[in-house]
Symmetry: C2
Subunit: 369 residues, 2 copies
DNA sequence: ATGAAAGCGCTAACAT
DNA sequence: ATGTTAGCGCTTTCAT
């Protein structure tokens, strides 16, 4: 605002030493006698000296600042991840430069460039596209990059995510064990691998799909499929509802179509928080009671799930831990670790709250399909 | 990671011009002929030149970076505020250095210092203490500072917050209009102005309390008091429950004590989101039905409030707008605006969802006290 | 242990 | 319109 800031040179002059000596005591490097040290410290104190980290960074070549590109910092998902990142960054007094991509490639690109120009020591990105991320490849050539939640094809860097397949499989298995044979799945499933939902289901049915590089919602679908396979329950294609975009309205339409239609499933599994909210709204609108008329489980644990009527079962992602792990891995790279890319999948946790009951119209026991 | 970065000098050499000329075209300042410009641009492109913003900042004296000290980036409240800040910052391509204070003065202090040393152009702080903020005063002398949600006594800087008094008053007035005469208030009310709750109630009763510099929860209490005064309903001190700390467990104890006790109020007003969650849990535990047994309104609108049974009424704060306003004001100061401190109070919004009914055991009409 | 001097990558006078 | 030179605030050789 106003006050010109005090430089090392001024402190040095006031203390009667050279800038080098002043720098040594103020910067905490090199040698200095107790005598000079106290003189410098005193002068610094008196003048109100504050180091200019920019100048230091320009010369040392590192900024002790990490760049983060989140989808939307306001969503509970990213907010929790960011908190985890911040926790770890703070332990090593790293600063955090945070941006939102809104799942928009152009914005992600600008963000990544800006962060690099600001000379961050490393980057944590939740990439919004799994392919053709030239900017990420370029960035990764200059600074360490860690991917979070999603992976990018052929980008050989560390990545952290939840174990989506196991989480989904476990929870759909629970539904099957409760006797459900017709389980709906509502998910984003936006950009499609393998040429669409149909081919994907075909390939997955034959165990030909690899999880790596798949978007989270597709990985969850894979878990859904595998649970069916493990239980020997045939898939019913009409029960897999692909919303195709990350929108509440579209999700609600899709959920409503499944619930109101003639072949209503006895249970619904939702692919993420947005889908859960939408499905919940559709269930309410249809006047259905959970779990009497419909059982429900969602991927992602949300606040309201603990508050509504019977409570909604969910698969909780270790969001904070994902952020912490990503930050820890990044910091290791920043510190010079030179190892092959690491791929960490964190276990999810089942939250049981009573939204799973027996299929309606049956005694409540499982039966062969 | 590996690649030494390309400097302006190298580009200049490759283009056959001076560093000054290269700087002029790459930095977009000063004059340059179309001829040299394209030569420089080409060379830059070919070499993969990326400006080093640190070096630029060191010389220009500004970083196009704003520092933010939030309480907890993970909470929906701060997350939304941050999103608002980010939205505005982005329009002027400012970066955001974000930290958490966890409402801890020592951490806030370190954060403010770190941000200053990183040479942010301005600071947005949600101060965790309304008094004795020497570090903020010091910071404000160097860079523009905008306070959010809370104010600091005798710190003459811009500030943004919700209109807590009007919001609370309006919503308690609604409860009174519905016939409630005994309305409980559960709030944090941590650091106490005027020597405690008793004296505060005394002073407020006589209209002797000024809103400025009061913590949000105290301002909301003031609204609660004024609503009673306006309706001519005497205050019942036992109904004002001071939790004294920002903890769910403590809040739940306090709420439970009020609800389970003999003199249970017919309605409860909660001072913030945490209190609302706690109160809701207590209500559930007590097996009470809303609004049949108890009416409820909370300050702060939370996700779950729209999902539970009848829906919970709330006073919504314009959180994004708070962030946006703060950022806009800060950017104005950064741009050189020199005006007396501005104090903005943003209007709240009542969310009506059906958690307010008539007091139990009455015909549902108001009656004189 | 300390100082002199060079220079990080860039912009800002000042010439021309 | 372009080049030369200085220097932002700091760290880092290199002497001593």
């Amino acid at each position: 605002m106003k006050g010109k800031s005090v430089t090392i040179a001024e402190v040095a002059r006031a203390a009667g030493v050279s800038t080098a000596t002043a720098g040594r005591v103020l910067g905490g490097y090199g040698y200095s006698s107790a005598q000079k040290r106290s003189a410098v410290l005193e002068a610094a104190e008196a003048l109100g000296y504050r180091p200019n980290l920019l100048a230091r960074s320009l010369i040392t070549g590192h900024t002790r600042t990490l760049g983060v590109v989140a989808g939307d910092i306001e969503s509970p998902f990213y907010a929790a991840i960011l908190r985890g990142i911040a926790n770890v960054a703070e332990t090593q007094s790293f600063g955090l430069l945070i941006t939102n991509s809104d799942e928009n490639v152009a914005r992600e690109l600008r963000a990544v460039e800006l962060l690099q120009e600001k000379q961050v020591d490393g980057l944590i990105v939740s990439p919004c596209d799994t392919i053709g991320a030239a900017h990420l490849r370029e960035a990764a050539a200059r600074v360490p990059v860690v991917l979070i939640d999603r992976e990018v094809e052929a980008l050989e860097v560390d990545s952290v995510g939840a174990d989506n397949i196991a989480g989904a499989q476990d929870c759909v298995a629970g539904l099957l064990a409760a006797g459900h044979r017709r389980i709906g799945f509502v998910a984003e499933l936006e950009t499609s691998p393998l040429g669409g939902l149909g081919p994907f289901l075909d390939a997955a049915g034959q165990g030909e799909v690899s999880a790596r590089g798949l978007y989270p919602s597709w990985q969850r679908l894979l878990g859904y499929i595998r649970a069916h396979q493990a239980a020997g329950v045939p898939l019913e294609r009409g029960l897999v509802r692909r919303v195709g975009q990350y929108s509440v309205a579209a999700a609600e339409r899709e959920a409503a179509a499944m619930i109101d239609g003639p072949g209503r499933p006895s249970a619904v599994f939702t692919g993420d928080g947005l889908m859960s909210s939408a499905a919940m709204a559709a269930v309410r609108a249809a006047g259905l009671a959970i779990p009497r008329d419909l059982s429900m489980v969602g991927f992602d644990d949300l606040d309201w799930m603990a508050f509504v009527g019977p409570g909604i079962d969910a698969v909780a992602q270790p969001r904070r831990a994902m952020g912490e792990t990503a930050a820890r891995m990044l910091l290791e790279r920043v510190a010079g670790l030179n190892a092959p890319p690491r791929r960490v999948r964190l276990a999810t946790r089942r939250m049981r709250r009573g939204s799973i009951g027996p299929p309606p119209g049956r005694a409540g026991d499982a039966e062969a399909s």
